[in-house]
């Protein structure tokens, strides 16, 4: 016997496990001739003695009586409810595992559908001209005061209430820009822009109208896009000919960037 072979059975030898008599004799004979394997066997036997002593010291250890009492209480409560006394057989388990896999597969398909369906719907939806998806309120001009004095009739409380009435908040989502297209101002890909200030009475924000980004002039016409709120250096105002407060030159300014479906910036408006 070689040392390598001895190493594979030294555990069983030291633990007095049942083994072939010839193997046992040859391994013991090897241990008598090889000092290294003899030492290895001695270590293993000493360990076995130690482990048996540990096992013996713990052989009377058991769970306290209170555990049994608690379990019996649970069992009695359980026994009041009818329990089906059936031990499941292997085929049932196989069926259950198939069912589990089927449920998992169905869940995975649903998740995939959930991820891909919006994109698919977006690509198959008929595109409408001059529609912009916006996350923000529409940049239309909203006059704060619509009151016009009518001297013929004395003012009533209801009419006075119209003065400075805030415009109700507009819903987010698709907004038709065609109806709000200004008559003046520069045009970019079918959308008109003006430099007039936009006042949104429902929110305390003042914004310029969308300013075309000139480098986008060669781009295809914008059919739909997305408005994204960003912060830009205040010096960007100067690029569009807007006045800058130099005392706050280091502070960024909020801006809404109009992105086309191709991801390119088409226009920008500054928000205060």
């Amino acid at each position: 016997m070689k040392c390598q072979e001895f190493e594979t059975i030294v555990n069983d030898l030291a633990r007095d496990q049942i083994m072939d008599l010839a193997v046992r004799e040859s391994s013991l004979a090897h241990a008598r001739t090889c000092t290294r394997c003899a030492a290895r066997l001695a270590d293993e036997r000493a360990l076995t003695i130690g482990l048996r002593a540990l096992a013996t010291s713990q052989e009377t250890e058991a769970a306290p009586v209170r555990v049994e009492a608690a379990l019996l209480a649970v069992f009695r409560n359980r026994a009041t409810a009818p329990v089906v006394p059936s031990i499941k057989k292997a085929p049932t388990t196989i069926h259950q595992s198939w069912l589990r896999w089927a449920v998992a597969a169905a869940a995975a398909i649903l998740v995939l559908l959930g991820l891909t369906a919006p994109r698919w719907l977006h690509t198959t939806q008929p595109k409408q001209e001059y529609q912009v998806r916006t996350l923000l309120p529409t940049p239309t001009v909203t006059p704060i005061q619509e009151f016009k004095p009518q001297p013929a009739t004395p003012p009533t409380g209801r009419e006075t209430a119209k003065v400075g009435r805030p415009v109700p908040p507009r819903a987010h989502g698709r907004v038709d820009y065609a109806s709000h297209r200004p008559q003046t101002g520069s045009r970019l890909s079918g959308i008109a822009f003006s430099h007039e200030l936009t006042v949104n009475a429902s929110e305390p924000e003042v914004a310029t109208d969308f300013l075309p980004l000139t480098f986008g002039s060669g781009l295809p016409p914008l059919e739909s896009g997305q408005v994204v709120r960003v912060k830009v250096p205040r010096s960007a105002l100067a690029s569009f000919g807007l006045p800058i407060n130099f005392e706050r030159a280091n502070e960024p300014v909020k801006a809404d960037v109009l992105l086309g479906d191709d991801g390119l910036m088409r226009a920008i408006r500054f928000v205060r």
Binding site: A53, R78, T93
Partner: protein, 207 residues
């Protein structure tokens, strides 16, 4: 002539699930000791061992019908539940430092501790050895500790241990081989540390 036979674990489980309290008690008393000691040897904590034992049999009461006799014995099923519970606790408690209340705060000894046994020196040596082996076992990684606990301390066969751990017999053999080699190394290192500390003490005495 009546032939008295001991009901098998599976038979007791069937009776237990039918509401037979005596069957449950018999099954519990037959198996709780092994489960408790396995949990104790894996965790080194009596409180954990008690909790795990209770959880194992609670699971049996609640979900005993889930047991599938085609997949293994009831003992292996119980040890499997115990193992999962222990590993979960070990994982949960790994960030906590245990307070050894027996060693640090002093265990209240029973009357038998004050009675001088027949061979005090021999008992002391044996206790030291058992303590060293216990510490060495507890310091093993969990997947080595469990095979030592099952095969060497619970004296399970490789097949039974493999069924309880849900792995192949060869895996049990190889893990046990590696675990025992680690134990030998740890105990040898312990012995060297002890002998060096004794030498240091002697040197101080002579000076």
């Amino acid at each position: 002539m009546t032939l008295l036979t001991t009901p098998s674990d599976e038979e007791l489980l069937r009776l237990m699930m039918a509401g037979d309290e005596a069957a449950f008690t018999t099954l519990y008393r037959r198996r709780q000791g092994g489960i408790y000691r396995f949990a104790l040897r894996m965790s080194g904590s009596e409180a954990v061992a008690e909790d795990v034992t209770q959880e194992v049999f609670m699971a049996l009461v609640r979900e005993g019908s889930q047991f599938d006799s085609a997949r293994g014995s009831l003992v292996a099923y119980l040890y499997g539940i115990a193992r999962n519970q222990i590993l979960r606790r070990l994982e949960r408690d790994r960030f906590f430092v245990p307070i050894n209340d027996v060693a640090d705060q002093g265990e209240v000894p029973g009357p038998e501790k004050f009675v001088a046994p027949g061979d005090p020196l021999g008992d002391l040596t044996r206790d030291e050895m058992v303590g060293a082996v216990r510490q060495a076992v507890l310091s093993l990684p969990a997947h080595y500790r469990e095979v030592v606990a099952l095969c060497d301390l619970q004296e399970m066969s490789y097949v039974e241990a493999a069924a309880a751990l849900g792995c192949a017999v060869g895996t049990v053999r190889s893990r046990l081989h590696r675990a025992r080699a680690l134990l030998v190394e740890k105990l040898r290192a312990n012995g060297k540390a002890d002998s060096s500390s004794n030498q240091a003490t002697s040197a101080r005495c002579f000076v």
